[in-house]
């Protein structure tokens, strides 16, 4: 009796916790509302299954508890019931998988009008590179990294000349414009993660990975590293500031001129 009751409490308690606990995802600030919806679908299906299984167990434990005159029912299997359960499970799984794959397709298909930006990770700081007036990023190579070329830009590539490099600073993005973030690392694995954007992807030294998203809400958000990258892992923080397009342009101009000012003495 007590065991059955406690199991019922575990099931109900879990649901109540889910409903009333103050711990929930941060308000979304990107276009990945679909991901949230998929999670909600999954919560409903899995929650129903969990509660059903535990309550059924609790009922069995109470109803079929040991009594001296009781004999268990002898029934090796019940093919119909088992197939029926298999099919229902299959349908439930499909109901979660189908929207998941559908959204994944969107997640990896970058829209044509997305702007390339670069996020660069090293132990333990974030740097960024934004395309200048030509709207395109130049090529780069880890082996070109040096004190006056911290991101290893290929200076022979004309597209790199107007790139705006922000070393260890804040990333600014215009609201409402799709962005394709090219992810690069100089040393170990890092992971570009902004909880409000929902998107996340590892940065692997030796290759360039990507994610895309459209910021939908202005504001300041934290960038966290989500892949263990050594003892400084938790200190590897950055900031992304989503602004109206006009504010963003003003900021970009300012950065470009600073970059230029820094580059000119180096060119001499």
């Amino acid at each position: 009796m007590a065991v059955a009751l406690i199991l019922v409490l575990v099931a109900i308690g879990s649901v109540v916790f889910h409903l009333v606990s103050p711990w929930w995802w941060t308000p979304i600030a990107s276009n990945w509302r679909y991901i949230d919806s998929t999670i909600i679908i999954t919560f409903w299906i899995t929650g129903a299954v969990f509660v059903a299984v535990v309550l059924f167990m609790a009922y069995c434990i109470y109803r079929f508890r040991h009594q001296s005159d009781r004999q268990a029912h002898y029934e090796p299997e019940n093919k119909r019931l088992e197939w029926w359960l298999t099919i229902v499970t299959g349908l439930g799984v499909a109901a979660m998988l189908a929207p998941g794959l559908f959204v994944w397709r969107q997640f990896i298909t970058v829209p044509d009008d997305a702007t390339d930006i670069e996020v660069f990770g090293q132990q333990w700081q974030w740097s960024f590179r934004l395309p200048g007036a030509d709207g395109r990023l130049g090529t780069s190579d880890t082996r070109l990294i040096s004190p006056d070329n911290p991101l290893g830009l290929n200076k022979d590539d004309p597209k790199s000349h107007d790139d705006v490099v922000i070393e260890g600073g804040e990333l600014h993005l215009p609201v409402g414009k799709p962005v394709k973030a090219l992810l690069r690392s100089a040393d170990v694995l890092h992971d570009f993660y902004v909880p409000e954007f929902r998107a996340k992807m590892d940065m692997v030294p030796g290759q360039i990975s990507y994610i895309w998203f459209t910021p939908t809400r202005t504001g300041e958000y934290e960038i966290l590293c989500a892949e263990l990258c050594g003892v400084g892992h938790p200190q590897m923080r950055g900031k992304v500031i989503v602004q109206e397009a006009s504010d963003y342009q003003a900021w970009l101009q300012d950065q470009a001129s600073r970059n230029f000012a820094r580059l000119v003495p180096a060119a001499n």
Partner: protein, 593 residues
């Protein structure tokens, strides 16, 4: 298929395996130390694995202290924290769970349950344990090496694992870890060959595959998987050792570390991840399948009812085993691999949910119309179902590629895998120990202490890991030494962290009750007799308890029925041992199926 030779009165003639001289050891050393008796080896394995488990438990306390009360314990610095999480993870997954289920339960139960005198290669079996012990010593030894153990996380991802920004990366830690793993794999292969070949070759007369208890099926399938999956870790470890010691570039791309370019070029960190998870995912099922098998037998015995849908259970076990080799990259959805792999691996991963769900249904349908004795082993088995279903269902979040994106590398993952492959299998281990302790020692474990241990462990573990999912959902990443200031994290989350730590301390301390019970009952436990649970399987039918070397005395048992003849209509007691020839049961026509 051959008909069994019949003796007088329709009784089968036992298989002729001689009671060889080997089974009568002459000295204390050959009996208890360098023993070739699978049961002694099982106890040695279990003792070492449980000791490693206690070390891992203390490590988890230390890391929880840091997470719950950051900054209070000054001796836990970032280096130490990462060393603790790494060693905790690797110890639990490989050196505790794998060793305990296969080396411990496998060694004890396989020969007894299939009616053999011993493993087929007893000498190799003995070596397996000593090699395992060497692996453990190397691993624990890394705590005392210069620079301490590695802090690369149990996944040991390069390049980080062998660079100086990681504890032990440029010192002894990572080398000792890799060497220890390689030794473990060699030792396991020796044991694994025994487990598999014994099931294949040494079954008693009449023990068809479909008459084997699900425990044997689970351990057999898991051993086979482990034999084929561990080489992937071995290959990864060899290549990483070369990268670390000889400066090759298997996994090392061009790297500029802290401003200094390294002499490496062109390697692929993702290659290691593929190798690691090619081992790592089957490893999850290597731990889970024996637990599935054992829990099936616990539920059936203590509910006095045959396991429901035995055939489906066997097929599901085999299906899970096979499928688990084609899902590995679901650990790598956000690793930067080709994103189109996501479609394939999400599909295979969610397909595996179907046979797994079938197993859950059959466990709870075994309870239905049973005659449930709420003994301590049964309580653990029931708690296993709750935690396994919980952890399995959150696996559907993480397996579904796009849902994984926001959740991966957060505390949600930590909560998920602890629930599904930490808490759930450990509950089975406890249940199994309470269940088989009488066979091993001839005495029962104390019931009251067992119930205290059970309730605190089950409810405590649930209270630790269930709320933890929500920290991850909020976006708190895993493997953070300290959260520091995070704008999106409310103060209440820190309170929750402190709560989790306190519960973890309590649950951990309660394990001492269990350890005490193990030793106390050795002397003072109630004598159990040979078959205290009135179970059908062969290990309970040995002529002596605890069974001596050679198990069966003069004649090997002969098997006349499957392992689940509980509450057969018309029988004079509610269980029919597998080796009981009498046919007192209803006509098959009255049965379903």
């Amino acid at each position: 298929m051959v008909d069994m030779p019949l003796g007088p009165a329709g009784v089968g003639v036992p298989a002729d395996v001689e009671d060889v001289e080997l089974y009568h050891p002459h000295s204390w050393v050959t009996k208890y130390v360098f023993s070739q008796d699978a049961k002694v080896i099982a106890i040695q394995y279990s003792f070492v694995a449980l000791s490693v488990g206690l070390i891992a438990l203390v490590l988890s306390w230390l890391m929880r202290l840091q997470l719950g009360f950051p900054g209070v314990f000054s001796f836990i610095d970032a280096n130490a924290y990462y060393q603790f999480i790494t060693m905790h993870g690797m110890m639990m997954v490989v050196y505790v769970l794998t060793a305990l289920f296969l080396g411990g339960f496998g060694n004890y139960l396989i020969p007894l349950m299939v009616g053999a005198r011993d493993m087929v290669f007893p000498y190799v079996n003995m070596l397996s344990f000593w090699v395992y012990l060497l692996a453990v010593l190397v691993l624990v030894g890394s705590f005392f090496a210069p620079g301490g153990p590695t802090g690369a996380g149990w996944t040991l991802y390069p390049p980080q694992a062998i660079l100086s920004g990681t504890p032990g990366g440029q010192e002894w830690g990572i080398i000792m870890m890799l060497v220890s793993l390689m030794i473990f794999i060699i030792g396991f292969t020796m044991g694994g060959l025994n487990y598999v070949v014994t099931v294949l070759q040494a079954r008693a007369r009449g023990m068809t595959l479909m008459r084997m208890p699900l425990t044997v099926w689970g351990i057999f399938t898991a051993s086979f998987m482990a034999l084929l999956a561990f080489p992937a870790l071995f290959v990864g470890a060899v290549m990483m050792l070369f990268d670390r010691i000889f400066g090759t570039s298997f996994f090392m791309p061009a790297i500029v570390e802290m401003g200094q370019p390294l002499e490496r070029n062109g390697g692929s960190p993702l290659l290691f991840q593929h190798l690691f998870w090619f081992f790592g995912h089957p490893e999850v099922y290597i731990v889970a399948l024996p637990a599935f098998g054992i829990v099936s037998d616990l539920i059936s015995t203590h509910a006095r009812r045959n396991i429901f849908g035995y055939r489906m259970m066997v097929w599901a076990l085999l299906a899970i085993g096979a499928l688990s080799f084609v899902v590995w990259a679901h650990h790598m959805y956000v690793s930067g691999m080709n994103p189109y792999f996501g479609f394939f691996f999400a599909t295979t991963t969610l397909i595996i949910a179907v046979p797994t769900a079938i197993k859950v249904y059959n466990w709870i349908l075994t309870l239905w119309r049973g005659n449930i004795h709420l003994t301590v082993p049964m309580l653990f088995a029931l708690a296993f179902i709750v935690t396994f279903v919980n952890g399995g269902l959150t696996g559907l979040f993480l397996g579904n590629v796009v849902v994984d994106v926001p959740l991966s590398d957060t505390m949600f993952v930590v909560a998920h895998f602890h629930m599904v492959m930490g808490v759930a299998p450990i509950l089975v281990i406890f249940g199994a120990i309470y269940h088989w302790y009488p066979k091993v020692t001839g005495r029962m474990l104390d019931d009251t202490l067992g119930k205290i241990h059970f309730w605190v462990t089950f409810l405590g573990a649930y209270a630790i890991f269930f709320p933890m999912h929500y920290l991850g959902l909020m976006g708190i990443p895993r493997r953070y030494y300290e959260l520091g200031e995070m704008a999106f994290v409310p103060p209440s989350a820190h309170t929750l962290n402190a709560f989790i730590t306190i519960v973890a301390l309590i649950v951990g301390a309660t394990q001492l009750v269990f350890v005490f019970n193990l030793f106390w009952s050795l002397r003072h436990g109630r004598p159990s007799g040979g078959n205290p649970w009135r179970a059908t399987t062969l290990e309970w039918q040995t002529p002596e308890t605890p069974p001596p070397h050679g198990n069966w005395g003069k004649d090997l048992p002969v098997v006349y029925r499957w392992a689940y003849d509980y509450s057969v209509p018309g029988a004079d007691q509610d269980f029919l041992p597998q080796n009981q020839p009498g046919i007192t049961r209803a006509a098959p026509g009255s049965l379903h199926g």
